[in-house]
């Protein structure tokens, strides 16, 4: 039951580069010791605004790529969507500004032991961790068909990088400003129906993940989803980022995204009941008495 981030460390990093890409910002930072340990699907947390900041909570970001050697030692990249006080502060940082980093956190994607066919599905900047994943899968000789989508063109992310590391890449936008008009799940359904797929990996908004999991399950394809829940600590002590997940024993528990996830099997998460404590959840009797 106890989940741990035993490989995680807290380090002082430094900003190397902040690059605008569409609606997002790509941050490159030094993270000595973190980069070297990172596996695909893991994340870091960043302290916001320095030690006197009124923003108490760290923000978490999926790791997009790592470099364990080079002139700066271990470095890593993550993408930021500037939507609030913290993320806006972060994207205004400049080269050499210090950062308080903790990582690598969370359970990584489970990788196949054989060179199988994988479909990667990314929504919005959720495609970021798929870059590191695709590289690992290709190293294992897997076929990697990637589908990346967003509502509109400037919210697409990582297309160029993913094109380089994937066997094939399909882009979708809901308004048709780039790639196929429609949703990633439309393309996923067609792919699942027309070709032999062994594993589906997905990262993006919760409704997209719910749909990916459902389509995969309907065709008995194994899926793994990286969830995005708001976290306070990122290290497993605050119990904020929980969601209902069915265990191997068939019992639903409120599991922490930060240490039990963020990668969950698609068929284990009770997607439509996120935000609730479903009937029968372990220890939920007190709520209903």
């Amino acid at each position: 039951m106890a989940s741990m981030n035993s490989g995680a460390i807290q380090v002082k990093g430094e900003v190397l580069d902040v690059q605008r890409t569409g609606k997002y910002f790509l941050m490159s930072v030094t993270a000595p010791g973190v980069a070297e340990r990172t596996q695909p699907g893991q994340f870091i947390t960043v302290g916001m605004g320095g030690q006197e900041s009124s923003m108490i909570l760290r923000r978490s970001f999926a790791i997009q790529r790592v470099q364990s050697r080079g002139m700066y030692g271990g470095t890593l990249e993550f993408v930021v969507s500037p939507v609030g006080l913290g993320t806006n502060w972060l994207t205004k940082l400049r080269r050499h500004d210090p950062l308080d980093l903790v990582g690598p956190l969370g359970k990584p994607f489970t990788l196949p032991t054989k060179p199988v066919t994988c479909v990667l599905v990314g929504g919005g900047y959720g495609s970021a961790p798929l870059i590191l994943l695709a590289e690992s899968l290709r190293d294992r000789g897997c076929r990697v068909d990637t589908i990346v989508g967003a509502s509109t063109e400037d919210k697409l992310y990582g297309g160029l990088e993913l094109k380089r590391v994937s066997t094939s890449l399909t882009l979708t936008t809901e308004d048709g400003t780039a790639g196929v008009r429609g949703r990633v799940t439309d393309v996923l359904k067609a792919t699942l129906d027309t070709s032999q797929v062994d594993v589906v990996y997905a990262c993006g908004p919760m409704p997209m993940l719910a749909s990916v999991a459902a389509e995969s399950m309907a065709r008995k394809v194994f899926s793994q989803c990286s969830v995005e829940e708001s976290m306070a600590c990122g290290i497993g002590v605050c119990m904020t980022c929980v969601l209902p997940v069915i265990g191997e024993d068939g019992i639903t528990r409120m599991l922490r995204s930060c240490v039990d996830g963020p990668i969950f099997r698609g068929d284990r998460v009770r997607w439509s009941e996120i935000g609730t404590v479903p009937e029968g959840t372990w220890g939920s009797e007190a709520l209903r008495s």
Partner: protein
């Protein structure tokens, strides 16, 4: 932040490496360092051991444990607030039996001092949890959480009334080993916290832990609904620090000998010192752990420097120091500076 230590004139040496005895005595509980974690912010210590050696601080105060497993509330459970946060977890936990088998065993093997926080829906439940812990043993003290705002009966927590607070403490006392120190965790959301402190003390509490979170609320302006699924929650973090310091001060003024564990938004050694000076014998670091997982260890080092730079050789000397009569030294300074002023500012008048 690198705090520059300024000499107060009566201490020599390198304050950066200053050693100051941080031992704390809380009734029969003696701990080598007055720095504890706050309940609900450190789980059962295991996760934090990755970021600092948990045996090197005073001890771990575990997340409140109840009799049965508990799923906690639905999400969202948290919202950030200015210099703080609002939470409504709802005491998610594995239940006392699993806690004893897994967490308590691990803490003991790890060699960490442990204060077990317990909670219950009724005084009887508190008693049953305490009885199970009594059989298990292997911990240093109990903290009785009579003030969690995220239970079913919101606003009606045991700690809101002297009689219900005392009843729970009495029940826990009866069901615990007589040598085990018991601390009652109090809520600041009361008319007179001193009344409650006095009541639990008379009911058999060794001391008090002050404060729990303040009941609060945030509205999400996008959904235009309450931000938390539980609607209301507990406010914690540096935003509540002045309230906490006030509570420690008031209890210390009224009850000079009652052991007090102070907590509420402690983020630095400087903040910890405020609580010690106000009358706390030890302090707990809570929400700041979410901000910085190694905060308890950092604060311990910083507190040592803060104390040494003010000429204290032990933390015990500083406890309640803000309650002393005005210094003779400052009394002497005051007239001399007034004399200087009189020469420069009152020269327009001749007597």
């Amino acid at each position: 932040m690198t705090r520059k230590i300024v000499s107060s004139g009566n201490v020599s040496g390198n304050y950066g490496n200053a050693r100051c005895d941080l031992r704390a005595t809380l009734g029969s509980l003696e701990i080598p360092s007055a720095i504890l974690t706050a309940s609900g912010c450190a789980a059962a210590g295991r996760e934090l051991d990755n970021y600092f050696d948990i045996t090197q601080i005073g001890g771990i105060v575990t997340k409140s444990i109840m009799l049965a497993p508990r799923s906690g509330r639905a999400t969202p459970r948290m919202a950030e607030t200015p210099s703080g946060m609002l939470n409504s977890i709802g005491l998610q936990g594995p239940g006392v039996e699993s806690f004893i088998e897994n967490d308590l065993v691990w803490l003991r093997q790890r060699g960490a001092r442990t204060i077990v926080s317990i909670a219950g829906g009724t005084a009887e439940e508190f008693g049953k949890v305490a009885a199970k812990l009594r059989i298990a043993g292997g911990f240093d003290a109990i903290e009785v959480n009579i003030s969690c705002p995220n239970v079913e009966d919101r606003g009606q927590v045991f700690a809101c009334r002297p009689d219900s607070a005392a009843q729970v403490v009495q029940t826990v006392r009866r069901n615990s080993d007589s040598k085990i120190p018991i601390f009652a965790k109090l809520s600041p959301d009361v008319t007179d916290i001193v009344d409650i402190a006095r009541s639990v003390s008379q009911a058999g509490a060794t001391g008090v832990s002050v404060i729990n979170t303040l009941l609060g609320m945030v509205i999400n302006t996008t959904t235009m609904r309450p931000a938390l699924a539980g609607v209301t929650g507990g406010v914690s973090g540096p935003a509540i620090r002045p309230v906490a310091v006030r509570c420690v001060w008031q209890i210390r003024s009224a009850l000079p000998d009652l052991p007090i564990i102070g907590m509420g938004g402690i983020r630095s050694g400087h903040d910890a010192l405020e609580f010690i000076l106000a009358g706390a014998n030890a302090i707990s670091v809570g929400t700041s752990i979410f901000n910085d997982p190694s905060a308890p260890m950092r604060i311990q080092t910083e507190l040592q420097q803060e104390l040494a730079s003010r000429g204290f050789t032990s933390l015990a000397q500083a406890v309640s120091y803000a309650h002393r009569e005005a210094d003779i030294a400052s009394m002497e300074e005051a007239p001399s500076s007034a004399a200087e002023d009189s020469e420069t500012e009152w020269d327009f008048i001749s007597e």
